[in-house]
């Protein structure tokens, strides 16, 4: 008997694959062991070759469906195509990134399939062939484990940057599948402008200098900018700093911002609210500077200094020079 299929629905981000897709393939490979057949499902235009960005991560199979309408298709049209693929292959599990796109298509597909979907998961594991998905609720104050015992496929959307993507030399078998494209005539995308964001985001950086309300003066931010440059990293911020003109929501770390796991993060003037911590607690090395010895951030840190953020930055920059 062939192995049950564990699917990752690949997502496009402009002309590339959304990084969450690659993260999910790595996680799916780890979960699958010998029990599941990991399939990356890719809907692309006839001239696209996005599978090249998936092979490196070594799913067992990349199932490609081509139609020139896919890149601009609406949620319902994509969900309809996926429904046909699910009906044909009867996968055990279907995973999506919890991106805007994933969170729009997955529930539409869920309703078509009348099955369970767990949103915005922070962890996944299998008990036999039942997916146990960990989902935060009440603004990350509570964690729930959720299963879908009786219906298949079982589905989940997974928060971006929850898992790390790892290339593997395994390679992947490339197959193609066909669906009928059913256009939805009552909804049209009349314009699509790329949001140009050439800089790497805080989510991709391997070193992050993070600033909070205690490190918000112009002089401190300037020192932090130099420090980030010296470390080859990026600046990230806690939520209050997104009110400043220099920063946007894209720079925010935390539950309602980016989940990151850089090799190194330096937290300056950040108290360590749970909504912040969940966004960065999987970083490899965590260093925090805060003038309050009782700030909760210290309990989540490897190294801590009780003192003024700017003074510490200046001292650090001085010793790098």
């Amino acid at each position: 008997m062939s192995k049950p299929e564990l699917w990752v629905v690949a997502e496009r981000r402009l002309d590339h694959i959304e990084p969450t897709t690659q993260q999910l393939i790595t996680k799916a490979n780890q979960l699958a062991g010998d029990r599941f057949h990991v399939v990356a499902v890719l809907l692309e235009a006839t001239t696209d070759h996005l599978e090249d960005e998936l092979t490196t991560y070594g799913p067992d199979e990349i199932r490609v469906v081509r139609d020139d309408r896919f890149p601009t298709a609406t949620d319902a049209e994509l969900a309809d195509a996926l429904k046909q693929l699910v009906d044909a292959a009867q996968p055990n599990t279907v995973l999506f990134g919890a991106t805007i796109t994933g969170r729009s298509i997955a529930p539409r597909l869920q309703a078509k399939l009348q099955t369970g979907l767990t949103a915005d998961c922070l962890d996944l594991r299998f008990d036999d062939d039942t997916l146990v998905a960990t989902k935060p609720s009440y603004g990350d104050n509570i964690m729930c484990e959720i299963i879908c015992p009786d219906r298949r496929p079982q589905m989940a959307t997974v928060r971006p940057n929850t898992f790390a993507a790892q290339p593997t030399p395994n390679g992947a078998e490339l197959t193609t599948a066909k669906v009928d494209f059913h256009p939805v005539t009552r909804l049209h995308v009349t314009a699509a402008t790329p949001v140009v964001n050439t800089a790497t985001t805080v989510g991709d950086a391997s070193r992050v200098v993070a600033l909070g309300r205690g490190a918000a003066s112009a002089a401190t931010i300037d020192a932090a900018t130099q420090l980030a440059e010296r470390l080859g990293g990026r600046i990230g911020v806690s939520r209050p700093l997104t009110d400043q003109d220099r920063f946007t929501h894209d720079d925010q770390i935390g539950q309602s911002g980016n989940t990151i796991h850089p090799d190194l993060i330096l937290n300056f003037g950040i108290s360590g609210a749970v909504q912040y911590l969940v966004g960065m607690q999987d970083s490899q090395t965590i260093v925090s500077v805060n003038s309050d010895p009782n700030a909760p951030i210290f309990a989540a840190s490897d190294y801590g200094y009780v003192g003024d953020a700017q003074a510490f930055m200046t001292a650090l920059l001085g010793q790098f020079a």
Binding site: I105, Q114, N141, M143, C148, Y303, A315
Partner: protein, 262 residues
Amino acid sequence: MKIVVCIKQVPETNDVTIDPKTHNLDRRGLAGVMNPFDKNAVEQALQFKATTDAQVVLLSMGPDDYAQSLREGMAMGADSGVLLSDRAFAGADTLATGYVIAKAIEKIGDVDLVIFGRQAVDADTGQVGPIVAEFLQQPQITYAATLRLSGPNEVTAERLLEDTKQTLVAQLPAVVSVRSELNPPRYPTPRNIQLSFEKPLTIWHHDDLDLDDSRLGQAGSPTIVTKVYAPKPVKRELTPLTGTPQEAASQLIKALKDRQLL
């Protein structure tokens, strides 16, 4: 034009705790309020009402005390409220919730536009809108950042994806879920609060709708919550950096070199 706005009642604060004995959520003493994201949906409907002859109906599924947030929405200016309340609906996940809400929208009848909030702040899923859109077989626009009536029977929205700003045009009837950036919701005025008590609030029970019982409540919910716990941030072994900033900085540099980070 008839607009339905789906609203959920949620606890006033997200600082919920877990009962150490029962391992259940302890929501005692937490007042219920309208889900903050749903206020943006109500506000949008009211702006349409101001420029057209739109009738704004609020729809909520939940226990009888959800009437409170329906009154809240009527005090903002909505015309009427419908509460779907029955023991048979209890324990529903997003699929079973979406089913009953879609059935109720069919019963309300001649609905041109259904507006949802971005997500409920307790469950944090954002799934109910697309599920209802699918059950109603209507086009959906999720995470709308702007929304306007662009024709007699048409809405135009902008949606910000991770990499692209899309403009979408939908023929009505359609389902839209909105982001909070859309608008600042209005506050109820004293006069509207007074009026809200005269506006019709209808309660529909199980028998008022034409329902397939196997799709209701817990039995109709494919998902089960098997465990609820408070997240423990992974506590780390803290090495203090001490002395003057200069001394502390050199301790850090040494540590980072040891960890091959410098």
